[in-house]
Subunit: 401 residues, 2 copies
Amino acid sequence: MSLIVQKFGGSSVRDAARLKNVARIVADTYEAGNDVVVVVSAQGDTTDNLIAMASEVAAKPSRREMDVLMSTGEQISAALLTMTLNEMGFPAKSLTGWQAGFLTDSNHRSARIRRISKERLENELGKKNIAVVTGFQGINRYDDITTLGRGGSDTSAVALAAALGAARCQIFTDVDGVYTADPRLVKTARKLSEITYDEMLELATLGAQVLHNRSVEMAKRYNVEIEVLSSLERKPGTIVKEVVKVEKMMITGVAKDDKVARIALVGLPDKPGVAFKVFSLLASRRVNVDIILQSIGRDNTKDITFTVADSDKQIAIDALTELSPSLGIKEIVADDMISKVSIVGAGMESNPGVAAKMFEALFDANINIHMISTSEIKISVLIDKELGSKAVTAIHNAFEV
Amino acid sequence: MSLIVQKFGGSSVRDAARLKNVARIVADTYEAGNDVVVVVSAQGDTTDNLIAMASEVAAKPSRREMDVLMSTGEQISAALLTMTLNEMGFPAKSLTGWQAGFLTDSNHRSARIRRISKERLENELGKKNIAVVTGFQGINRYDDITTLGRGGSDTSAVALAAALGAARCQIFTDVDGVYTADPRLVKTARKLSEITYDEMLELATLGAQVLHNRSVEMAKRYNVEIEVLSSLERKPGTIVKEVVKVEKMMITGVAKDDKVARIALVGLPDKPGVAFKVFSLLASRRVNVDIILQSIGRDNTKDITFTVADSDKQIAIDALTELSPSLGIKEIVADDMISKVSIVGAGMESNPGVAAKMFEALFDANINIHMISTSEIKISVLIDKELGSKAVTAIHNAFEV
């Protein structure tokens, strides 16, 4: 008998038919003799509908109240899934964020989990109940409702698996695992049976969109084995863990991220503290910066180029425009017609020539590279957005992953 | 400075425009220097929508999970109203049932409030925050979510007013007060400025539908002054309290209830314990019995006739059919084509001839009476359903209320 945590996303629970399908998966896991903790997201469009309701009454809805509003979405899913299980004759109880013991900080709309008080959960499991927990939410130390922000339900599931010492955390999505490239773009893309946390982290941040990096980081820290699999097809998915079987591959996958913007600050004075001021300003506005390149300019100036999510582009430009007189920025150039294409693989470190091979593939496909960034297990390039899919296919074919 | 509790029903908060209207009422009360606690119901059709969702996944949804599901309705209203107030610049915080300290028994879907832990509420009021509380809900001692059932939000409001020692509990509805008869039926119906708890209780149980009797009973017990008024028109409503100014009226109002069924048990053996068995059986099936008449039959038998809500008719018949062999019931006759028409008034006791005057009015209108029941401040008659409105008008005119 093991303890299994199973997380189901919004599309997996979007209507009565999908809820019954999910209940069957949960019931089978329970009938196989396991203790089961289920984590659910809000149904399909619920989150969007709630946001629309808020925008009708307030131009800038208070963050505390948005959390109160949004947290109803998972509560509805949890109640409906539990009813479905009860109707099928299985002992199940729904638990909201506070009932399941999720204690977070007070950063409304993007709270971090501080700890999980697991008494109630262990009590329900001890009584052989299936616990159906609302993902994405908790309470702070003042008993106010908080939500975890993007990727919150995955993070809830991994945190529960860690706290309860679960044998595995299964993340059910509408894809059946992690692929060497997006199967919609690359016909020869192959599903991976295993992948390391670090590779998954690079793929998540690069737009593979299977798991949010917060949840993978937490899984790595607490050594929680994750399985990514489909809620619609009953077959094994991809296991994410610390060490995987060595395969004869230089790279694990190719990923593309179209939601990226490049911002160049031209003509900065070449003196200490400039980069610090730029990026601490962006951090204070909650803009996440990805790649940063600094080049030497002319006449005692330098240029700093960096990428941000395209949704943050305007916030970044507005902030930097304020700062430009005091910093002496001559020009701010922004471009969001770009794609970031990356290759990821833990085997990269011991295989020289990986970068050269990637650049050769792009050259052969006549694709110009605007910017390059590398880490131990990742190489990213920025290219024109309309060439993104072509680039992914070219690289995937070159490496024969 | 006083503390005012204001309760707004589902139609008062049904959309963004209504929410803004309610926020203005609350804001005006706050700006006049009062502490304000607001209690909200779920928006318009939310409750029906949630019930429909449940019925898609379960033929008989578990009561515990229905409470988890239903309680999201008020949470959405509370968050939206609080956002609206925040957007207008007012300090407000939403509080769910558990956050506001509502502790109930464990009777899911029709829980009773045991006590209110008012620390959090007093803390918010101490910080000059407007507290927007979800009506209809609480938690039991196991920290499970419960709901209060019919009339729950009114009861929540009165309970809060009692616990916090509020100067007044304002119940905002879509009518502007309590009338001497239904203004849609009787053109000469008049709004009452004041009414006693007992009169209001009789009117509530008789189908006047302005306030649920649970809330009025609680208001009477804790001496909470209620005002019933409209959320759309800014004018005084009707005050419900212990002693009202004496007006020169024999009766306070005329009410009609169409949702009633009469059940007659014919040919019962005339021996002790028969009535006990009948009505304890009905109580065990949660059927509320209203009027009971027992007549002497023939040949050592008797007949028992009683009324129930028409929604309970079939449950009552099924239960009694099971029991009929052991009790020796010869026949069960049911009829729901009837109306109960009643007059209510605390002045009735000191005015002989009230009943006679009512019967005369009905006789003059050529309306046959099937059954009569009286209490200290109420006289009810059962008549044919299609004559209900005619009867109300005839009686109202006869008493010139």
